[in-house]
C-alpha cells in the first residue's frame, strides 16, 4: 500500500521547468531513494511534498488523505516531516535548548533522551549549535525532525560532509527508523550509501521521472548510467 502518491506534479520557476509531470508512489514502511543530476528537481520535489512551495499543477495523496499537498503546518500535523539540504537547526541556541524545542513539539517528549543517544549528541549538549562539528549539526537537524515522530521523513542529502564513522552512524539510524515503521524518502548523491539503504529508487532528470525500480535495476539501467552515475560509476562496486 502506498503511503504517498504524487499525481502529475509540475512546477516551473519562470523559464526553468523544475518539475515536469512527476507521478510517484511511495510504499509505506520502506526507504525510497531519490537521485538525479544536480538541478534535476529533487529538492524542489521535497519542497512541494512538505508544503513549502505549492505546485503549479498536480495533486498528492498522503495516507489516504486526498487533496494534498497542504501548507506546511498541516503536513507536519499529518506526519510529513523534512530536513533541509542546507543543514538547519536553531543555530543560536545550545543543543539542549534545541532539544527543548523538539520536546515542546513532540508527541512523545520522553523519547528525546533516546534520540540524544542515538544521534550521539550527549557530549555536546551545552554547546551552541553554530559551533558544533559539522556531523553533530547534521545529526541535530535529524533529531529535531525525528522528535516529531514522523510517518514520512524526507531526508535531503543527510550524508553530505559525513565520512567514516559518522556515515555509518547515520546508516544505522536510518535502518532503525525503517524498522520502526517510518517511511523515508532519501535524497543522496553518495550512491553506495543510498543504494545500500533503499528498497526502491527513482531517478529524476531535468524535472522528469527517468526511472523507477529496485537499486539493482537502477545501477544497470543505461539511461541512469548515462545521465547520473557516469561510466566510472565505480563508487558502486560491491
Amino acid at each position: 500500500m502506498s503511503i504517498l502518491e504524487l499525481h502529475n506534479i509540475s512546477l516551473r520557476f519562470g523559464g526553468v521547468v523544475a518539475l515536469d509531470d512527476v507521478s510517484l508512489n511511495v510504499p509505506a514502511g520502506m526507504t525510497f531513494g531519490l537521485i538525479g543530476p544536480n538541478g534535476a528537481g529533487k529538492t524542489t520535489l521535497v519542497n512541494v511534498i512538505s508544503g513549502l512551495i505549492p505546485p503549479n499543477s498536480g495533486s498528492m495523496v498522503f495516507d489516504g488523505r486526498k487533496d494534498g499537498p497542504w501548507p506546511i503546518a498541516t503536513s507536519v500535523g499529518y506526519g510529513i516531516v523534512r530536513t533541509f539540504q542546507q543543514t538547519r537547526a536553531f543555530l543560536g541556541l545550545t543543543v539542549r535548548e534545541n532539544l527543548r524545542i523538539a520536546a515542546a513539539v513532540s508527541p512523545q517528549p520522553e523519547m528525546i533522551g533516546d534520540l540524544v543517544d542515538a544521534c550521539g549528541l550527549a557530549e555536546v549538549m551545552d554547546r551552541t549549535a553554530s559551533e558544533l562539528p559539522y556531523a553533530a549539526l547534521r545529526h541535530l537537524g535529524i533529531a529535531l525532525a525525528l522528535a516529531l515522530r514522523p510517518r514520512l521523513l524526507l531526508l535531503d542529502e543527510p550524508a553530505v560532509g559525513l565520512s567514516g564513522d559518522e556515515l555509518e552512524r547515520l546508516g544505522h539510524l536510518i535502518r532503525r527508523w525503517m524498522d520502526a515503521g517510518i517511511t523515508i524518502l532519501l535524497i543522496e548523491h553518495n550512491v553506495r550509501f543510498l543504494m545500500d539503504l533503499s528498497d526502491r529508487v527513482a531517478v529524476l532528470d531535468r524535472g522528469r521521472l527517468l526511472f523507477e525500480g529496485t537499486p539493482e535495476e537502477c545501477q544497470s539501467n543505461p539511461d541512469v548510467i548515462n545521465t547520473y552515475l557516469g561510466r566510472g560509476g565505480s563508487d558502486v562496486e560491491h
Binding site: 507536519v76 543555530l91 535548548e97 524545542i101 529535531l144
Partner: protein
C-alpha cells in the same frame, strides 16, 4: 532544590527591596520606583524582543494606553487603583493583540518599522483625542493608590511597594511563560521561522501570545506610572523617548534573559540621576557612557555576570580540586 532556589532568590530580593524602601529618602525612593516600573516594562519587552525576536516600537504607546486607561477609570469613574490596574492591563493586552494581528504579517526590520508607525500613530492619537486624554495639556488629577489601612506606610513608600510587587509578579509570570511550551516555541520562531514551521510549530500562536502578554504587563506598568505621577502627558509615551529607551534597557541589560533587563532598567534610570552633577554636560556624559558600555560589552550586563559567575565557579572547583 531547584524550585526552592527559583523562588527563593527573587522573593528574597523583593523582601530586601521592600524593607529598604522604609529607609531611603524620598528622592531615591522615587528613582527606584521609576526604575522598577521601567524594569517591568523591560522584562515584558524582552519577552518579545529577546525571546521571540521581534522588535516592537509600539510599546511606548501601549504603555500610554495603560496609563490613560487607569487615569480614566480612577479619576473619572472612581475605580480603586488595583482593579483599575488589572483592567488597564487587560485592555492594553487587547490593544496589543489587535496590533499583533496586523504587525505579524511582517518580520525583521519591517516589523520594527511597522510597529514604529503604530507607536507614532498612538502617540498622535493621545494628542488628538483630547476629550479623553487631555491632549497636549495632559491628563490631570489621577488619584494616588489608596494606602490600605492595615499598612502603616506613607504614600511614596506604598507606591514603591506596589512597583516592586508588580515587578515580582511580572518576573514570575514571564519566567513561567518562557519555560512553558509556548516559550520554547517562541525561541524557535526567533531563531529560524522556516525551521520552526517545518517542525510543525504554528508560529502564529506563540508570538501572538508573547505580544499580548507583553502588552498586558506594559499596560499595568503604565497604569502604575499614571497613578503615582498623578499627571500624564503624551510626551511620556513617545517612540523616540520611551520606545527606544526600552530597547536600550534590554540590550544594556542583556537580551534574552529576564533578569538582565531588570538590571539594565535600574542602571539606565539611575544613570541620568547620577549624572545630574555634570549639569549641562549630563546628556553628553550619558551618551558617552552608553557608547562606552555597548562597545565593550555589546552583549550587556548579563554577559558580564555570566562570565564572572563561570570564572567564580572555575576558581572554586579549581581550589577544591587542588585540595
Amino acid at each position: 532544590m531547584r524550585p526552592l532556589l527559583d523562588y527563593f532568590v527573587p522573593i528574597s530580593l523583593f523582601v530586601i527591596a521592600c524593607a529598604s524602601s522604609l529607609w531611603i529618602n524620598d528622592y531615591f525612593l522615587y528613582v527606584v520606583t521609576i526604575g522598577a516600573i521601567f524594569a517591568v516594562l523591560a522584562v515584558s519587552f524582552d519577552l518579545l524582543l529577546g525571546y521571540t525576536g521581534y522588535l516592537s516600537l509600539a510599546h511606548g504607546a501601549l504603555y500610554g494606553v495603560g496609563a490613560y486607561c487607569c487615569g480614566i477609570l480612577t479619576a473619572w469613574h472612581g475605580m480603586p487603583f488595583l482593579p483599575a490596574m488589572l483592567f488597564a492591563g487587560l485592555f492594553t493586552g487587547l490593544v496589543g493583540a489587535l496590533i499583533a494581528l496586523v504587525a505579524f504579517r511582517t518580520k525583521g526590520l519591517y516589523f520594527a518599522v511597522l510597529t514604529l508607525g503604530i507607536g507614532l500613530i498612538g502617540h498622535q492619537l493621545f494628542l488628538i483625542a483630547a476629550p479623553l486624554t487631555g491632549g497636549i495639556g495632559g491628563f490631570i488629577g489621577i488619584p494616588s493608590p489608596n494606602v490600605p489601612a492595615w499598612l502603616p506606610v506613607r504614600q511614596v513608600v506604598y507606591n514603591a511597594l506596589l512597583a516592586f510587587a508588580l515587578l515580582l509578579v511580572t518576573y514570575l509570570v514571564m519566567r513561567a511563560f518562557v519555560r512553558s511550551r509556548f516559550g520554547a516555541a517562541c525561541l524557535a520562531v526567533r531563531e529560524d521561522i522556516t525551521l520552526a514551521q517545518a517542525l510543525g510549530i504554528r508560529v502564529g500562536w506563540p508570538r501572538f501570545a508573547a505580544f499580548a502578554l507583553s502588552a498586558t504587563f506594559t499596560g499595568m506598568a503604565g497604569a502604575l506610572f499614571a497613578a503615582l505621577s498623578n499627571f500624564i502627558a503624551p510626551e511620556s509615551f513617545t517612540v523616540l523617548g520611551t520606545g527606544f529607551e526600552l530597547v536600550a534597557l534590554v540590550v544594556v541589560g542583556g537580551l534574552g534573559t529576564l533578569w538582565g533587563p531588570i538590571l539594565g532598567a535600574i542602571l539606565l534610570t539611575a544613570l541620568p540621576e547620577a549624572l545630574r552633577v555634570a549639569a549641562t554636560l549630563s546628556l553628553l556624559a550619558y551618551g558617552a557612557l552608553l557608547l562606552f558600555f555597548i562597545i565593550f560589552y555589546p552583549r550587556g550586563i548579563a554577559s558580564i555576570l555570566r562570565r564572572l559567575w563561570s570564572r567564580l565557579g572555575a576558581a572554586l572547583t579549581g581550589k577544591l580540586g587542588g585540595v
